[in-house]
Symmetry: C2
């Protein structure tokens, strides 16, 4: 019979104990911060109707690429969620009458993107979101920004090495409107302009200027069409997203423009100013939260405040080469998402952390504890006919809360030692025939433990193997474990 | 524009704080027990190649019902995992050279079944598995059985109200072989027989006897074909799975038969006997782990030890009607699963808990703590123009680790109180103009807190509203929270 080839589809990966532990610590920390801010947990399934996710294209018989989709028995299209925001909008619409508003929830879990997955790009990854639905107030946005900063610090990213950068889409929308790219009319050109601005960090101002006007050839010679603005129009747009001042107050002045500024732009600046005031009142205006007019956020559904959390210190990879890291999370106001279901307006604002991104950030910053965890105490099977005795020993250790296992393989003594070493067992417990007669057990401190000894003195004081009476086994192992921590 | 209808596909559900908290406690407890036994975490993605899951039918152009499947861009079929065992087999085969064997891991997460989902049946649910790969020894099985018992008790199921029931498929296989249903030859009839035996609990002995012989009409008049055994053959098979003695020793004697018993049956009994010895040595033979020859486990891939964890006390639902609960988990030995990938034999044994089943069991047993969690302290927005002051108050509370939030809605004072009450806030903090002048704040203990007072005396001692100087706010709230716990 032909054997199957064991492999994973591209863009998917397995995770071992070290990564699982690290992610679990991050998730637990984020949860604590979100709860401190009064958000409550909510969970939605991983599968939704495709139309609820807003990616269903009516003129295609299959939902478009980007999401994993499949048909239900009744021929309706289902999709794996690609973020945690669209499912929340569905939940809110479905339970609108019964939920307490403003509705403050957090959610975390896997999301899926059916995309080309290059190195470090995954088709399944974890997000951790918090959202406030039913509040149009900038106070809700400000709370999210401060919470984002708190998450970074609680997770171990030092103050000064990150920033929560905020902006307001109404400002840019107002300016784009004034150069003829109103929201509905020129959707395609507007999107081109937004995408161009979103690339400022990566491509620089000159390239963005080209993308706003007549288009641009990249280094590979590929042409990207432009938004077809005139040079003056492009200059006006550029002036807005380059309007970063020395502090929030100066940025606000630059963004405000004169009294002829379009209504939308003035509304955006007013909201941004209110957030800045709240941030100041809470003491987060020390560089933790800064107004940055270049923040756009790619997703089309944002309608007001937008923000991104970024590492701000120079980073290098293992070979010393500089690393462009991008954001670890972001969010903003999406007042239109719930109204896909309801005729009334339901304002909402949210924040999403990429958990794997945060893990990668910690790693780059050298803030990730990568010490492998200690293994269990291994009880050696010296004599196969006495395995019930060994089982009783393990049970006693476990009853005392000591992580331990009976060796369940078929190998001999040396291979069992090697196994225990590879499991990073703090010690093994051995009982041969003569020990059994004397009712004692041997406790053997393994290499891993010896390596942990810092000095030769310490090593000498800690005998690598010693015998204790059977009834003192638990105490002896407990003492050994305490010495190791 | 037409509005979308907010709804979930059948068999999927949302979860609120109470259920999330309960599941999170269960998951944490299972994790602790599995780790105590020396198992280490492993995570595999939710998507696998369909052929790795073993449900791909080559004569169909779509993987069969039962799994959610979709084609990748390269036309290969992908599926959502339907259990955590098949992905483990794929992982082990893919990493066989580098893993430490015996390989002891645990995994938990969502699995999916594309089935008709009735009430209480879900298409997405959570499993928590532990497996030992690379050990053919019954010690590995015994460890899993004891671990299953420990999980039940740590989760809050009292000793005596559950049992881990063990059996060995080789015994039944040996008997089925002796009545002409050998493993390969009569796959269809053998499966019919296995399914019949698996229904003993539900349908009773008479119905099973019919299903083993000429078939049976159910109450609705539908006919189920039988395994076409003769009456004597059926009686022999029945004698085996009814061979439960007063204790494990007696069951073993009944199962062993005479010296003419087929080799396979004798091997199965020997394995079962070894497990019984280990269980006894560890003290788990007090009814926690019992030999039960009626346990079969539906899945075809089991090859030796099988076991199930069941509630053993009479249960009733909310209306007092008796409830058939079935198992909360089970497992067994599947020595053939990894060999789908490899030519050598890789013995393996595993255990799977249905987390939602366990939650339902706790609920039925009245062991589920369903007290809703307390909400955050809510800082009331008395005067919208002073919101920055209120923000500063919230920030002080949070800095002291007190779960709290600024009211971010647009409602007036009364509606804010109602909001705080619905959030189950332990208290609200209010500062009006006169309080601000005096630099004090009002702390208002809400209904939820008043209800918690056990006596009138206690109620009188706890003023429902009191004022404190601004700089004593944190202490005062902390004291109030302590009184409530």
């Amino acid at each position: 019979m032909e054997k199957l080839n064991a492999r994973l589809p591209r863009g998917l990966s397995d995770r071992g104990p070290a990564e699982i532990d690290a992610i679990s610590r991050i998730v637990q920390t984020i949860r604590e911060v979100y709860e401190l801010y009064g958000f409550e947990p909510l969970e939605t399934p991983l599968i939704e109707y495709s139309d609820a996710l807003g990616k269903f294209l009516p003129d295609q018989d299959r939902p478009n690429a980007g999401v994993f989709s499949f048909q239900d028995e009744d021929k309706q299209w289902l999709s794996l969620r690609y973020d945690l925001t669209a499912p929340l909008a569905r939940f809110v619409a479905e339970n609108y009458e019964t939920i307490t508003k403003p509705f403050r929830t957090y959610r975390f879990g896997w999301v899926f993107r059916n995309e080309w997955a290059g190195p470090g790009r995954f088709r399944q990854f974890m997000q951790f979101d918090a959202d406030t639905v039913g509040s149009a107030s900038p106070t809700a946005d400000a709370e999210l920004c401060m919470m984002a900063a708190d998450v970074m610090e609680r997770i171990g990213v030092p103050r000064g090495s990150y920033a929560v950068k905020i902006n307001n889409r109404k400002i840019l929308d107002g300016v784009l409107e004034s150069v003829g790219l109103a929201r509905e009319d020129n959707a395609e050109r507007k999107l081109t302009a937004m995408r161009a601005i979103d690339k400022l960090d990566r491509l620089g101002a000159d390239a963005v200027r080209l993308l706003l006007t007549k288009g641009r050839f990249d280094e590979a010679g590929n042409f990207t069409a432009g938004a077809e603005l005139t040079d003056e129009q492009a200059a006006l747009v550029m002036s807005i997203f380059l309007a970063k001042g020395a502090d929030n107050e100066q940025s606000l002045t630059l963004l405000a423009g004169d009294e002829n500024a379009p209504e939308l732009r003035r509304a955006g600046v007013a909201e941004l100013r209110q957030i800045a005031e709240l941030v100041k009142a809470a003491g987060y205006d020390d560089g933790r939260i800064v107004i940055d007019p270049s923040v756009v956020r790619g997703l089309e559904y944002y309608t007001g405040t937008v923000f991104e959390v970024e590492l701000t210190i120079p980073l290098t990879d293992e070979s010393g080469a500089p690393v462009r890291f991008g954001s670890v999370g972001g969010g903003g106001r999406y007042d239109g998402l719930v109204s896909r279901y309801r005729s009334d307006n339901v304002p909402a604002t949210g924040f999403s952390i990429g958990v794997s991104r945060l893990l990668a950030a910690l790693k780059l910053l050298g803030k990730l504890d990568e010490t492998p965890r200690a293994g269990p105490v291994v009880v050696i099977v010296f004599d196969k006919s006495r395995v019930a005795d060994y089982q009783a020993i393990v049970t006693r250790l476990r009853s005392a809360g000591i992580r331990s296992e009976l060796y369940v393989g078929a190998a001999g003594l040396n291979a069992q030692m090697k196994y225990a070493d590879r499991r990073r067992a703090p010690c093994v417990v051995i009982q041969g025939p003569s020990e059994r007669e004397q009712r004692i057990v041997q406790i053997k401190d393994l290499a891993e433990g010896l390596k942990a000894a810092k000095t030769h003195e310490e090593w000498k004081q800690r005998p690598w193997q010693f015998a204790v009476p059977e009834d003192q086994l638990v105490d002896a192992v407990q003492q050994l474990l305490e010495r190791k921590t």
